[in-house]
Symmetry: C2
Subunit: 151 residues, 2 copies
DNA sequence: CGTGATGGTTCGTGTCGCGAACTTCTGTGG
DNA sequence: CCACAGAAGTTCGCGACACGAACCATCACG
């Protein structure tokens, strides 16, 4: 449960601090492309397919009103577009514009590159093990697909 | 490098998505205590010892001007206090108030509890393995101590 | 038809985070 | 002893975020 102070670290601290690391990468990678981390994340989600506002809020864990603003700003930047939903006049599909597609792919690739470099100290087998364990954690906790699997 | 679509997940996606999970826990746990995630994080850092504004900015990856605001707001909430640094008249030591200490411990404990529950699907040995691997990633990348090790 | 639920937007408020400019103090070289 | 570069913090103005509450339009159902 608890770990002692001999360089070893517990699961909890390991998760929290590696999350910190990932956040930093996200922040830096997006900033370099004139994005905010939130907009970067939005683009990554939309790479898979268009989504409605409600679905997006669900996945990203945001209130509907927050989504409106985020999509507004991203749309203003020309990266995203609101399309009418043929099935439902009220609803809206948020989709990447061509430029948004480009930026998304660039951002995604760069983020992957950097995250991939984090476990540089691990050999192939260890990386596989880590991937497997994290995969199960993610699976068990039903994390929404905020980050695609590499093509 | 890349993983295919048979339920398996790569290291990169695993890291990103588990980070997402951790962020959500942070957000929820802090919100329940009337904190923002940032203030919660600040409290966690200060649990170890007081720090100067510069050091804090360094650890949290924030600009000095951002720190001023964050400490301002947290101070206004009565959780933190600016003490003069005896060594340097310009400098300031940010420390927890008694109430801040309480809130910090509560928040820290609750966060631990929840993060600890994330890898519930793993057995003891697997948790240990995960801890070891993440520990090395964290160590290799020199993540600042934004989250203490359990007492 | 109503009528309740659903998908989104608007509005007001507080928090965040940044860079640039500024003040005050430290320490170092002359 | 005195400049003076540089470090520690703050202030200011700005845009981005996130929320809840109130609101509008539309859908679906009885």
């Amino acid at each position: 449960m608890a770990k002692n102070e001999d360089g070893k670290i517990g699961v909890v601290a390991g998760l929290v601090r590696s999350a910190f690391l990932v956040n930093a990468v996200y922040a830096e990678a997006s900033r370099e492309r004139g994005l905010t981390p939130q907009q970067g994340q939005l683009l990554c989600v939309l790479m898979a397919q268009p989504f409605g506002m409600g679905e997006l809020g669900q996945m990203l864990g945001l209130a509907k009103s927050s989504m409106t603003g985020l999509v507004d700003r991203t749309e203003r930047n020309g990266l995203v577009r609101r399309e009418p939903d043929p099935r439902d006049t009220r609803a809206v599909r948020v989709a990447l514009t061509p430029r948004g597609q480009d930026v998304a792919e660039e951002f995604y690739a760069e983020t992957c590159r950097r995250i991939d470099r984090l476990p540089d100290g691990l050999n192939a087998a260890e990386r596989d093990t880590l991937a497997g364990l994290l995969g199960r954690v993610v699976l068990d906790n039903e994390v929404p697909v905020v980050f695609m699997e590499q093509a």
